[in-house]
Subunit: 236 residues, 2 copies
């Protein structure tokens, strides 16, 4: 199934769903090209308050969305990420990650045990359907003035549930002692929580697993602070 | 993996995510028990404007959420559905459906072809992460006065993208000519769109596939209008 043509990731340095796909590529050791799709016009460079740019200042919110008509043909949903791979174009990060996993199986991103696989998908979906969509920039834009409170509300609601579930399922990582798609979802969501000033001390299991994962090379090289489209003033 | 103990679905007649799981059980011919978790106190029976109860009248919105502490131990996220099956408890409808599919493979709910599997997951996630979370009752409650407009905005945004994708992927059903998880997600989302008065004539492919699916027994028996917890005045 895999061809000699490198996959192309249409993403954005600070998009948590793009980061998920970057982690998957890094864990698999797959080389890929990146095309930056600017979710925020001028990439936040106008803003001097670095990591909280979307919330603290209003300079960029008003300019959303600035996606080109060309990108609509790549992802009609006009969101990132989208990946061109093996002759097809896929959107939705979990669908992309599972496709990568089924076509490039080593190392696996889903456990061999069926019940553990279900737990990995449950945790991944809790984040991907239950938290992230409610604090992404399109929704915050529509939520009006109370962006920070809105984001914190839904992240805290999700993290309370996630903490409780991880106490049952986790070992070193989210499900047992092998890295999985659940971990790929966890780290970018914790990054978002930090941007929205959520107090992570309430969630010791989430915090512990995130810290363990952030020691790993695949999570470091894919971090928003060191992507090709990361503005100079946001680089680590 | 399958045991003699019937699975138990904790759900709610009108929850679109619960309906997804009911369709999967029906397509597989799996018997299961249902436990009703009231998302709306008194099940909407106080309201005389039947299908639009959540939006048109305010009698029930104020009483959300009324979930018991007992249910928190079943699903810490305090949402439906959750399923007790084979000795484990799972939440998140797509994780549940894929678990059912992996343990009870006939008929399959994901295509054998890897690229088609990815398309099924992409469409399922577009609905499950990109549309449904933004028009569910918890979010509408927080969205304030403009509930109907909010729901319509996000359903229309998602359906425009979905219509475009389905023009590429569909045959008789969402992906080719076999029923899949994507179809299981489509029908309950169309039902929600109709409740929120979205004009489906804008989306001829969605409308056509939905009509075809609604002819099938598995989609009929699982419909919100004929569940054990459907109030008498909402029965078909």
């Amino acid at each position: 199934m895999a061809t000699q043509v490198k996959p192309v990731l249409h993403g954005y340095f600070r998009s948590s769903c793009s980061w998920r796909v970057r982690i998957a590529f890094a864990l698999k050791g797959i080389e890929y090209d990146q095309v930056s799709v600017n979710l925020v016009k001028d990439g936040g460079q106008q803003c001097k308050v670095k990591p909280m740019c979307f919330i603290v200042c209003r300079c960029n919110i008003a300019s959303l969305p600035q996606l080109t008509d060309q990108y609509k043909t790549i992802n009609p949903m006009q969101q990132v990420p989208a990946v061109r791979i093996d002759g097809i174009t896929l959107s939705q990060s979990l669908a992309i990650i599972q496709y990568i996993d089924e076509t490039r199986p080593r190392p696996p991103l889903l456990p061999a045990d069926i019940q553990q696989r279900a737990q990995v998908r449950m945790i991944s979906d809790l984040i991907a359907s239950g938290i992230q969509p409610l604090q992404n920039i399109y929704v915050l834009q529509k939520a009006g003035e109370e962006k920070l409170q809105w984001a914190q509300h839904f992240i805290n609601k999700g993290f309370k549930a996630l903490e409780s579930i991880l106490k049952q399922t986790s070992g070193t990582y989210c499900v047992g002692n092998e890295i999985s798609m659940a971990d790929i979802c966890l780290v970018p969501q914790v990054y978002n929580a930090e941007r929205y000033k959520v107090d992570l001390d309430q969630y010791p299991t989430i915090k512990r697993i995130n810290q363990t994962l952030m020691e790993l090379e695949a999570f470091k090289v894919s971090h928003p602070s060191c992507q090709p489209d990361t503005p100079d003033d946001l680089r680590a």
